[in-house]
């Protein structure tokens, strides 16, 4: 995976450069939001989760792990966590989130989305994902939904590649038992490659 320009902006933001943090937001938010939309039943929930991910990025800035200079994998893992455990994770930001404007167009879209359900994820899979431990949810989202290699996902989640690989196998077994799903694929997992038709 190529290095991303937000690495330099992230470093500058850590030194107090506000506009640089804005550029990190510009670069990463489309992917973060799309990922949130996949997992959230309403557009407003997805907005809250997106905002929460960036607030968490700043609050936990000392613990953020970059993958090839990019904060995006960390943001996506956090987005997964917030989306699937939303009430608890976003509680500390309630006041902040209440201040952000919601447009009518978004409200209309929210109603439409509420009827359709989360975007782009099989409802059966989503239900099964919700039952996984938090770290498994994050690994699954990075690998199966966002297409990161297991090795990169492992870095973002602060675990060894081997640990990520065994965890991935366990997730696959568990989800296969829980729901009649198609094969879950990881770009760099030999077991997954064999099982893919």
């Amino acid at each position: 995976m190529n290095s991303r320009p937000e690495g330099a902006d992230w470093s500058a933001a850590l030194k107090g450069d506000g506009p640089a943090f804005g550029r990190v937001f510009d670069a990463a938010h489309p992917r973060v939001y799309r990922h949130a939309r996949r997992l959230c039943a309403s557009i407003h929930d997805a907005e809250d989760v997106t905002a929460g991910a960036f607030l968490e990025l700043w609050r936990r800035r000392d613990k953020v792990t970059l993958v090839e200079g990019s904060v995006t994998p960390w943001l996506l893992a956090t987005t997964t966590n917030l989306a699937l455990n939303q009430r608890r994770g976003l509680r500390r930001y309630q006041t902040f989130l209440a201040r952000l404007p919601r447009t009518e167009a978004a409200a209309e879209d929210a109603a439409e989305t509420a009827l359709a359900g989360a975007l782009g994820v099989d409802p059966l899979l989503l239900t099964a994902i919700r039952d996984l431990p938090s770290l498994d949810q994050q690994l699954l989202a990075l690998v199966a939904l966002e297409g990161y290699p297991l090795a990169d996902a492992a870095i973002a989640l602060n675990m060894s590649t081997q640990a990520a690989r065994s965890r991935w196998q366990r997730i696959r077994r568990r989800l296969t038992r829980a729901a009649p799903l198609g094969p879950l694929t990881a770009p760099d997992d030999p077991h997954t490659s064999r099982s893919t038709p």
Binding site: A20, F21, G22, R37, F54, L55, F96, T103, A116
Partner: protein
């Protein structure tokens, strides 16, 4: 069905996010200046506090209270109204000292048990301003209504309250490692600001005000001999501070 973040929402969120690095930089970036011995001698020799060379008096290095600190004593549950909050105040910092009783609480938390004195310490928000460094979720208090003092009936208490801009106001450090400033979540300085009897801002020892206060508990409240009040250098005695004022 859109898959991009609503423009108005994104712009508002971005505006908020770009303020975070600067806020944090202001709060954490500046370090207290250690007061050099030469400067200290110079200050003592003239008996007043002035800026010397590149060193600034600790009173200027430490964050100053935004308004005169409130210091009142009472008995039993109460709600202590405060002066209006200055425009730049984000929190009212409180030290609630309970000299007896088994409960000592504020909206920010509580201390229970029979040991005395108990000190409930909290930063209570006075507005909805977002603070990324505050993990505690509290509803803002209305200063005109006041700070709830939640104690057992008959408990003698002292409330020390002052307006601050953040959770951890800057603290100054003297050469002998004495610290001077406003109490924060992370650090309790040795000397804290009060209004001296002459009306000026002065500094008293935190211990003498709180956990080591030599108090007499009366039916009306708490009585204590006036405390020595120090100047901004933390050494010069500039007068005394009455700490027995009763809440009515």
């Amino acid at each position: 069905m859109t898959t991009t973040l609503d423009t108005i929402f994104a712009q508002a969120l971005r505006r908020e996010l770009v303020t975070l690095p600067a806020q944090t930089s202001r709060a954490w970036g500046r370090k207290p200046i250690v007061f050099g011995s030469a400067a200290l001698l110079a200050l003592l020799s003239v008996g007043t506090v002035t800026a010397v060379a590149n060193l600034r008096p600790p009173g200027e290095v430490a964050a100053a209270p935004l308004a005169a600190p409130v210091l009142v004593n009472g008995v039993g549950p109460a709600t202590v109204a405060l002066p209006a909050a200055p425009a730049d105040a984000r929190y009212v910092r409180i030290e609630l000292i309970c000299f007896d009783g088994t409960l000592c609480a504020s909206p920010g938390g509580s201390i229970k048990g029979s040991s005395t004195p108990k000190i409930e310490r909290a930063s209570l928000p006075v507005n909805q301003a977002f603070d990324p460094d505050n993990v505690q979720i509290l509803e803002p208090i209305d200063p005109s209504v006041g700070v709830p003092v939640i104690v057992n009936p008959g408990t003698h208490w002292r409330l020390y309250a002052l307006y601050v801009t953040g959770l951890n106001p800057e603290i100054a450090k003297l050469e002998d490692s004495t610290t001077l400033g406003i109490p924060g979540n992370d650090v309790i300085p040795d000397l804290v600001p009060v209004q001296a009897d002459n009306g000026d801002l002065a500094w008293v020892r935190y211990d003498e005000l709180t956990n080591a206060a030599l108090v007499e508990l009366t039916p009306a409240g708490v009585r204590q001999a006036p405390l020595r009040a120090y100047g901004k250098d933390g050494v010069t005695i500039v007068g005394q501070a009455d700490v027995s004022k009763l809440w009515r």
